[in-house]
Symmetry: C2
Subunit: 336 residues, 2 copies
Amino acid sequence: MNSRPKPIRVLQLGLGPIGVSSAELVLHRDDLELVGAVDCDPEKAGRTVGELIGSTSCSVPIVADLAAALDESRPDVVLQTTGSRLPQVADQLKCCIRGGASVVSTCEELLYPWYRHADLAEELDTLARARGIRMLGTGVNPGFVMDLIPVMVSASCKRIESVYVEREVDASTRRGPLQQKIGAGMEASRFRELAAEGKIGHVGSCESASLILHGLGWRADSLTETIEPVIADRAIQTDFVRVEAGRVAGIHQVAVATRGDAEIVRLDLKMYVGAKEPYDRVRLAGDPAIDLSFKGGVAGESATIANLINAVPRLIALPPGIRTVLDLPAAADGRV
Amino acid sequence: MNSRPKPIRVLQLGLGPIGVSSAELVLHRDDLELVGAVDCDPEKAGRTVGELIGSTSCSVPIVADLAAALDESRPDVVLQTTGSRLPQVADQLKCCIRGGASVVSTCEELLYPWYRHADLAEELDTLARARGIRMLGTGVNPGFVMDLIPVMVSASCKRIESVYVEREVDASTRRGPLQQKIGAGMEASRFRELAAEGKIGHVGSCESASLILHGLGWRADSLTETIEPVIADRAIQTDFVRVEAGRVAGIHQVAVATRGDAEIVRLDLKMYVGAKEPYDRVRLAGDPAIDLSFKGGVAGESATIANLINAVPRLIALPPGIRTVLDLPAAADGRV
């Protein structure tokens, strides 16, 4: 049944830790072909992807100019791993649209861009439809554990009253940029200043909650988010940072949606260095109730890259425009 | 964003315990409208659905003739809850196709009809495509726990070596027909005779395994199934049957797919009266490994009915033909 189609041509945009691993996984997949790589870092542009990942077998050059790379390599899909905020990456997205390439992105706000950037989302969606390409934001979170999974398992519920997701992540095992993003090693007062300015914390909690609301066809009266520091109870040394006892170990971030007096969605995320028993737990109150746990949690970077790459063959069969992970089928026909 | 479209017109075909609950749930949904009901049982035909479910508000008549009911009520979708084996229900499916109605069915073999009935599946698929309608087999198992969930969570894996699913169900809480199907109360020798003749046990284990193989793009060298009795270690009384100690409490059914020397899929199902700690567990060996448990398991009948009904708005947007649960998006746009 699975006749082997031509590989999907892929360009990797962004070669930070996630982008490099993404390019590596593309090279291991029979159904994908790495045809281009773009990074604006002058240390990287001019080298080959093979040099970056320590493999001689890949001679795809890294270039700095996205438009030229698109023109040169004619990818079907761009894997974008460059920024968390939609306005940061919008010019790149427009460039991809002009180049006729669909985009699968780790941009957290692209998971559900209508939440924070309705006008920009509308503009991008219209451009994408006109050009016949698709755009999707995904990853392990947002994109899987705290949004897709609860909606997906709601298929087994006749009735749902509320959704409650807890995720506890040991940031010690994660990449350096993530440890910075959660304020590991910082003083609590500084953390709170940055949190108040929206400069620290996980991006995507409200997008995840919005996606759940959308997926369940729910309307909320309010959607709010809080960010608090998790304080280290002992000194912790990671590969990237040393956290003294009493300093910030990471974040505790909670998004809550209400309707009337009822809390209908609660997404409770702790990411900190030194978490001893990471886990993910998804509970739906309803008929039947669902209580689902991932032992040890769904591992961060690998799972983000997997979600990114596994979305590619499933996305390209969908109608053009901005799509969400809720639109994806569980498997692409003929997926390898 | 969710403008309310016209409700989807639904006909309930089969009014056993599952069918009655299915019709009830349809009546509770704003996005669905019950327009017809069919059952061949002369005790039921001639009454109304409302009489059967103990509600005066539904006057939809139950009729015995499917073709006439289709012609009369012009449903968009037929909910079929009549049989486990594809050849048993094929005439009904053809009748639905002729009537221009898509079908969502609890027929276990329709989950992946190509496994046991390649020719019949081909015939039905061709007819369905020609008439522009869709057919889907679903339920909690097969259709969710032991097949869709492992494929769906594989989105978070860069690489998968094997899939192992365990499901333990307390059949005491399930409907009478299910307790019969698993041989509760029988002598072990009689159970083994019936198992050897294929007349007892859960239908769908090999279909679930085939669906996983399809979803992961895997080829197997072998796919085999074993059925053993679970013997009661004490007397158990349910609403439907009394099981003496030493008699059959239920089934232990295992489907295994191998490639070379490696076991790549193992689906281990125990359904018996008196199971003390029901659960579902899905493990994927790979990078990252996934170890996922549903505490208490995903409750049987309610979850089957939910999967059936929740599939309706998601199915009708798909291309015509026989579809599988792997083709369904996690949510339909505008789903209520």
